[in-house]
């Protein structure tokens, strides 16, 4: 079972709070859209060079946004991507958090606040970025396999967009060969 899927079934007890935290942060009530939050996950995973996570969350972002360009441009250059000034600031905070918490400067925080970011939005941005640093290291640290074919990511994107991050009753049986 590729990427995160096998790991979450290997140790289901610790997987549960990881899922709960993810569901809350990425799908819970927020003034940031689900698409925005998937872009945060994408930017951090891309920065950590985690192929599985970057591809899956790019696919989810694309599905939520309705195009392939936004996520692609955000990965290439946040400043010229078609997102709001506030999201540019929050995505910059995400990227810096991905490197190290200490790289988040008061300047980037002030930029976000000047663009209208609330304390809750800043909190959630940093925590989502931090959470994806957990995921990227978990997935690559245990050398999980990549899917055999790229269509798998579309199935995953559909699952996370339409069913969120909590465990389905059948686990991943429907994705196994």
């Amino acid at each position: 079972m590729p990427g995160i899927t096998g790991l979450l079934e290997y140790r289901k007890d610790s997987a549960q709070p990881i899922r709960d935290l993810t569901q809350l942060l990425l799908r819970g009530p927020s003034t940031l859209s689900e698409a925005d939050r998937e872009l945060i996950a994408t930017v951090v995973s891309y920065g950590n060079q985690c192929t599985f996570c970057t591809t899956a969350h790019t696919a989810a972002a694309d599905l939520l946004i309705g195009d392939h360009q936004t996520a692609q441009q955000v990965k290439e250059d946040i400043e010229t991507a078609p997102v709001s000034e506030k999201m540019k600031a929050l995505l910059t905070i995400s990227k810096l958090t991905g490197q190290s918490g200490k790289n988040v400067t008061t300047e980037v925080i002030e930029r976000a606040k000047a663009a209208g970011a609330t304390d809750i939005e800043i909190h959630d941005t940093v925590l989502i970025a931090a959470l994806f640093c957990l995921y990227n290291r978990y997935v690559d640290g245990l050398a999980t396999a990549l899917p055999d074919n790229l269509g798998y990511y579309d199935v995953l994107a559909d699952r996370i967009v339409n069913h969120g991050y909590t465990r389905l009753p059948q686990g991943y049986d429907h994705l196994k060969k």
Binding site: C50, G98, G101, I122, L134
Partner: protein, 192 residues
């Protein structure tokens, strides 16, 4: 000072958790499952892994906090904990734990830095798949916690004597929302 408006009377991650209790709950559950277990790896082993990773990430609050918790489990052996933080290869710990700490150090840099050789070495010294899984996940989780704390510039107490007091609270009761909702432990001669 913190990047967001949090309770200035709570230290480090506790203030962040009080700001957002809903996200604090699963983080506390994860900490309990990964760190408050003696399943193969002891609670002391687990806190040493957390402390070393926090040291590598240069997160003062986290390395002091988890170092102090490890000291609680190690009969007050602060020297051992300091040694493990800075130079575990020469610390008086098992070779198996050294091999796992080397894996944790690689995870801290990035998942792809963990090599098959490191895994093989750990297994040869008796590490099970579960030991390796838990080591990687503890290291990954602390890469999250360290970034949460430093990314929001959480208040870091400079009174080093306060860390053992909070550590004892955790050693007694484990992790959970009680760490910010209960009264913070203080020295006996303070606050009457």
């Amino acid at each position: 000072m913190p990047h967001i408006n949090v309770d200035e009377n709570l230290p480090g991650i506790r203030a962040l958790m009080a700001f957002s209790p809903a996200s604090a709950t699963p983080m506390g559950e994860l900490a309990n499952l990964l760190l408050r277990s003696n399943d193969s790896l002891s609670m002391a082993d687990r806190e040493l892994i957390a402390t070393h990773v926090s040291y590598l990430n240069d997160c003062f609050y986290c390395q002091q906090s988890h170092g102090a918790i490890a000291v609680c489990y190690l009969d007050g052996n602060t020297d051992l904990v300091e040694q493990v933080k800075k130079d575990y290869a020469h610390a008086l710990i098992s070779d198996k734990l050294k091999a796992l700490l080397s894996i944790a150090a690689s995870v801290q840099k990035g998942g792809k830095f963990v090599t098959p050789e490191q895994i093989a070495a750990a297994k040869e010294l008796g590490a099970t798949d579960r030991d390796i899984h838990d080591t990687v996940l503890i290291a990954a989780a602390f890469c999250m916690f360290n970034r949460y704390v430093d990314g929001l510039a959480a208040n870091t107490p400079t009174d080093l004597a306060s860390y053992p007091l909070r550590a004892q609270q955790i050693a007694d009761k484990g992790y959970g929302n009680h760490i910010f909702s209960n009264k913070q432990p203080v020295h006996e001669n303070e606050g009457v």
